[in-house]
Point group: none
Chain length 215, copies 4
C-alpha cells in the first residue's frame, strides 16, 4: 500500500519473494490438510491466489514444493526455539518451560504435526536433499544437556539422563496426544481438546517429566 520508494529491480524481487512465500504458505496448509498424496496443486494455486503455472516456475514440481514447505516448517520452529531463554531459569523451571513451549507450539501449529507425519510416511526423503537440514538440529538439545547437568550438580536432578532421549520424550508426549487426538477421541468417546482436557494433559506431562528428572 504505502511502501518506501524502491527501484524497479527491488520491487520486482520483492514481488518474486512475496509470491514464493505466498505459495509456500498455501502449500503448507494444503499439505497439512490433505497429506502429500491428497494435496492438489490446483487448490494450492487457488489458496495462494496465484497462477498454478507459477508454482512450477518457482518450485519445479509437487515433491520439491513439499520439500520446501517442510524446510520452512523446520525453520519456523527453530526460530521460535531460539527465542526461548531456558538457561536463565532454574533447572526445574527450565524443564517445565520446555514442556510447555513444546505443547503450546504444537497446539498452535497443528499443520507442523501433520507435515511431519507426511514426511515420515515418505521416510523423510523430502529432507534428504536439504542443505539446511544439518542446521536444523535443534539448539535445544545442547541447552537441555546443560540444564540437566546443572540440575544434577545442584543435587535436584537425577543423573544419567540423555538429553536427546528426554527431548524426544517431551516432544512425543505432546505430539501423540495432539496428532492422534481424533482417533483417541473416537476411541475414548470423549473430546480431548476441551480447555479442561488440555489443561489436564499439560499438568500430567509436566508432572510426569518433572517426577522423573527430580530426584
Amino acid at each position: 500500500m504505502s511502501r518506501a520508494p524502491a527501484t524497479a529491480t527491488d520491487e520486482r524481487l520483492r514481488d518474486a519473494d512475496r509470491s514464493q512465500a505466498t505459495i509456500l504458505a498455501a502449500a503448507r496448509d494444503e499439505f497439512a490438510e490433505h497429506g502429500l498424496g491428497g494435496a492438489r496443486m490446483d487448490r494450492i494455486a487457488e489458496r495462494a491466489g496465484l497462477n498454478k503455472r507459477l508454482i512450477y516456475y518457482y518450485f519445479e514440481d509437487k515433491e520439491q514444493l513439499f520439500s520446501a514447505v517442510l524446510e520452512q516448517a523446520y525453520l519456523d520452529i527453530r526460530e521460535e526455539e531460539r527465542k526461548l531463554n531456558l538457561l536463565a531459569l532454574e533447572p526445574a523451571d527450565a524443564v517445565r518451560q520446555l514442556v510447555e513451549f513444546t505443547w503450546d507450539y504444537y497446539l498452535g501449529h497443528p499443520e507442523f504435526l501433520s507435515l511431519l507425519n507426511s514426511a515420515n510416511l515418505h521416510r523423510a526423503r523430502h529432507l534428504e536433499g536439504s542443505q539446511r537440514v544439518r542446521e536444523m538440529n535443534s539448539p535445544l538439545i545442547a541447552t537441555l544437556g546443560e540444564i540437566l547437568e546443572r540440575g544434577r550438580r545442584e543435587g535436584s536432578f537425577r543423573g544419567g539422563i540423555d538429553p536427546v532421549q528426554l527431548y524426544v520424550s517431551i516432544a512425543g508426549l505432546s505430539y501423540f496426544y495432539l496428532s492422534n487426538n481424533y482417533t483417541l477421541s473416537a476411541i475414548f468417546g470423549r473430546d480431548l481438546m476441551t480447555p479442561k482436557a488440555r489443561s489436564e494433559r499439560l499438568s500430567h506431562m509436566v508432572e510426569l517429566v518433572l517426577g522423573y528428572v527430580l530426584r
Copy 2:
C-alpha cells in the same frame, strides 16, 4: 466344477473369506506405505493377486476399504492386548510390562502407526461409522486403573494418576520415536533404529514412567 454340493457352498464361502482377508492385508500394506491419498486401487489388487473389480464387490469403494483396514488394525492390537495378563504381576512390573508391550507391538507393526497417522490426517472420519468402535476402547485402560490403584494402596505408587493420561503417555513415548524415526534420524544425523539405540530408548522410557509412578 464338480464338487459335492454341501462342501461346495462351504468352500465357496471359505474362498470368499480368504479373498476378503487377502484384500484387507494387501490394502493395509498399501495404505501404510502410501497413505490414503497415495494408495492405488490397482496396486492393492496387484498385491492381493486378485481382480480389482473384486475389491469393489466386497468393500464398495476406497474409503470403506480404508475403514475396514483401520478396524481390522484395531482388532488386531486389541487381540494382542487381551493376551497380556498384567493383573497377575506386581504393579511396578505390570507398568514396565505395559511399556515394553507397547514398544514391541509398535516396533513389530509399523503399518499400524502409519495407518493411525492417515486416520488422524482425515480426522478419524473413517472410524465414525464403525459399529465396533465402541468395543475398541482398550481393555488396558481399566486394567491400568486397577494397577495404579493397587500400587497406591500398597504405598509404592504415587496417587492421583489418571490411567488414560498415563496410557496415552506410554503410547506416545514409543509412537513418536518410531513413527517419526525418519525425520528424527535425518535431523539428529544418527540412526535411531540400531539395536543399541532401540534398547536405550526402551530403558529410557521404562525409567521415565517408573520414575514418575513410583513414589
Copy 3:
C-alpha cells in the same frame, strides 16, 4: 455384424485385439500427420472412437505407442514385399519391378514415409527395444543379391554391385521425391505430383537404375 458364434472369452479377446488395432491405425495417421511431438493423444482417441484412457491401458504411453505404430508399419511393408515374386522374372525386369514396387508403395503409403522421418528425427530410439526389428531386415536384400548375381552371370549386368547399396539407392530415389515433394514443389515452382510428373519420375528412376546395372 454376422460373426460365427464364439465363446465369451473369444469375443472379449477379439474386442481387445480390435481395439488395439483401431488405436494403432488412428495413431499411425496422427503421427504421420503431425509428427511425434505434434501428435495429440486426444486426437488419436477421437480418431479411434475410443476412450483416451484405453490407449494408456494398452500402450502405456505416447512413446511406446509410437514404437508400436512404427513396428506395425514395418510389418506391413514387409508383408507386401513378401508378395513380390521377383525371382520369377528376368533380371532386368526384376530390377524394374523393384523400382516400381518401391515407388508405388511409397506413393500409396505416404504415412510410412512420414513415420520414418519421425523415427529418424529421434534417432530410431523407438526401434531399439523391438524384438521384431531383427526380422525386419528386408527379404528383398537377399533376393536382390541373387538377381544381381544372375544378371552378371548372364552377362547383362555389370559386376561388383552391392545389393544393400542398390536397395538403399532405389528406396532413396522414390523416398526423397515423395517425402520432400512439398519443399521441392515450392522451390521449383511446379507441382511434382501431377500424373505426368509422377510418370516422368518413375521413368527417370527406371532408366537411371537400369542404365547403371546393365552393362
Copy 4:
C-alpha cells in the same frame, strides 16, 4: 552508457543483428534436434543465452521463427552451391563433383536434412510466405542443364536427361542414406556411418550416376 552518439547507434544495431543471428542458430539446432512440435522456446532462449521475450520481439512467434530458420538454411546451402565452379570442369568431372558436393554438404549439415523433413511434415507451409523463396531455386539446375547438354554434344553423355530429375536423384541418393541412417542402421544391424561405409556409399553413388549419364 557513455558511448559516442554515432557509434552507439551503430553498435546497437550490430548488437541487434548479432542477437538475431544467435537466436536463429539456436533455433536451428533446436528445431533440427526436436522437430517443430518438439522444439521448446525455452530451450531456444537458453541455447542462445538470451531472454525468451527477445525471440518474440524479433520473430513474432514459433512458426515465423521456424520459417526464418528454414529460409536461412536455404540461403546457406545456396551460398555454398554458388561457390562451386562446375562449368570449369569436364562434364563427367562436373557430375562427379556435384554428387560429392551434395554428399559432403549433407554430411556436414545434418540439421539441414532434419529441417527439411520438418518442413515437409508440415507441407512446406513455412516456405509459402517467403519472398526469397523464388530466389531459392538452385542455380545448379541451370548449370546442370548446361553440363548435360555439353556432355551430350561431346558425345560422352546420353541425351534426354531432365536436369531437374537428375538433380533430385543426386540429392535423394545422399539424403535418404544420411537422413534415414538411424532406421537403416537399426534394420541392417550395421553402422552406416563408419568411414568405410561412408566411402563405399559415395563410390556407389558416383558409379550409379555416372553409369547412367555416360553413354
